[in-house]
Symmetry: C2
Subunit: 321 residues, 2 copies
Amino acid sequence: MTGAPDGKILALTGGVGGAKLVLGLSDELDAQALQVVVNTGDDFEHLGLPICPDIDTLLYTLSGLANPELGWGIDGETWHVLDSLERLGGETWFRLGDRDLGTHLWRREQLSQGHSLSQVTRELAMRLGIEVCVYPMTDDPVRTTVITEQGELAFQHYFVREQCEPAVNGFRFEGISGARPNRDVLSLLQGGSLSRVVICPSNPYVSVDPILQVPGLWLALRDSPADVVLVSPIVAGRALKGPAAKMMDELGIPATATGVAEHYQNRYPGLVDHFVIDESDATLVSVIEEIGLATAVTSTVMKSREDKQRLARFCIELESA
Amino acid sequence: MTGAPDGKILALTGGVGGAKLVLGLSDELDAQALQVVVNTGDDFEHLGLPICPDIDTLLYTLSGLANPELGWGIDGETWHVLDSLERLGGETWFRLGDRDLGTHLWRREQLSQGHSLSQVTRELAMRLGIEVCVYPMTDDPVRTTVITEQGELAFQHYFVREQCEPAVNGFRFEGISGARPNRDVLSLLQGGSLSRVVICPSNPYVSVDPILQVPGLWLALRDSPADVVLVSPIVAGRALKGPAAKMMDELGIPATATGVAEHYQNRYPGLVDHFVIDESDATLVSVIEEIGLATAVTSTVMKSREDKQRLARFCIELESA
């Protein structure tokens, strides 16, 4: 049987790379058949505004607002606020565009009125014309800290300000032990309507680990009747987007699909039912299967809209284990 | 003797109308000879940002950034943040331009680091290249409330959102009784370096009254050896800018320079040494002098830069009482 026609799909995603596959999934599925849980470990407060980079990247991508060249922010964006702030000597390393700032100001107002991040995200999606349900992994603050050779850095300081240059020793997710998983996601996992979980090709360390380490979440995923499809974010020894391969190198882990498989098998044994790798990594299949992951090979590089839809279909239609 | 050459001048001002005369004064005086104290009763928090309309109007005017057509905000301003916020259904009645928002974000950061409004204002002026000392009347929050026939309205709700339409019954300055006057302004008034105070043609009720009602301030002004020159904001029965004349009508006070004179003489007896009125009101001189104010007549309408400089010179060179 195929996974999709019978039930809902839950996608786990970080920012840009994962959002591409979610866009493909949303093209291939009815809106009510797709739910998405998003990493919030990248969130931070900047200039007094609550910034949720992964949520916004996903919502801008799904609503067609995303900037296709930058891979983040809004298409046709302008930078007048930041120019003015720069003139005053303010902090401008985090590139907040004018239209993007409208989102953050709006979110700040909503949160200050006592709405939860989940409620605000649902409302934001609705106002952007998005029908797919998008859930933050938790409403509680979780903040990814990158432990580097230059000391600990808040994620956006590492990622944007330092441009991922400091070598990485590890990660810490501040607040994770007290974070409560999104209730709707838990209900979905505990109910019978979910047929498949897709872990998008997002960074294992700073996009997917925070989601899976929200207390209760990965065990609920493992114990759910839905089977779990993981798409490798590493293709031919390189991350298609972001610092995943560089991080693996620095952590002494082979920056390959095999390294990704080991990461998931060691940390979350029994979670992943299917591992989808790129055709350029086809020679790794037997090694990965020895680690205990059923492996499927396809083209995972998503450049065009059709690429995204094709990979989405592949993940949806993959035979259940 | 003339007031200026021997000492410093302190100007009291609200927003647009007053800022014009301050610009003239700054053209006519060395930077260290001019100090300005600004109304903060219009200040409010909006979208989580600390907005200081009178301070910003003055600083934008003195730095040449001001929008000459709107009379507020920044020249060449764009509105992308507000467009984005509007799309999300956020509050857009208070027209915050993109570049202007840079100022508010910067100010928010500075205040959140524990700097006082005085310190932040001094720093902002410096970064905008302004040498004149600009002081908020107080660092403590004072909020003007307009008592209208439709109930009480926060000042900006009355002024911007409701466009001054509700009829006015009175005013209340929340927080004024606990507000401490700006220390530098007090020192200046108590020291011997000040030769003249100019009350700019600002709204008596919502721009100048808040300043004068900061505890200790108007008595320090009255008791200072400097003489006080008041420029009428009402010319030929009309306010050149803003709702002053409309307010006077609604309060049952003649909307004339005479009404202005009575307002100051009743509330602040002995404060004003010279009252400068427009030539179109020359017939009122004898009535006003009966009220007890020495009156001087000149053209007070400031359209061109030269108009501003000429009125400034008139105020500076007026013979001391």
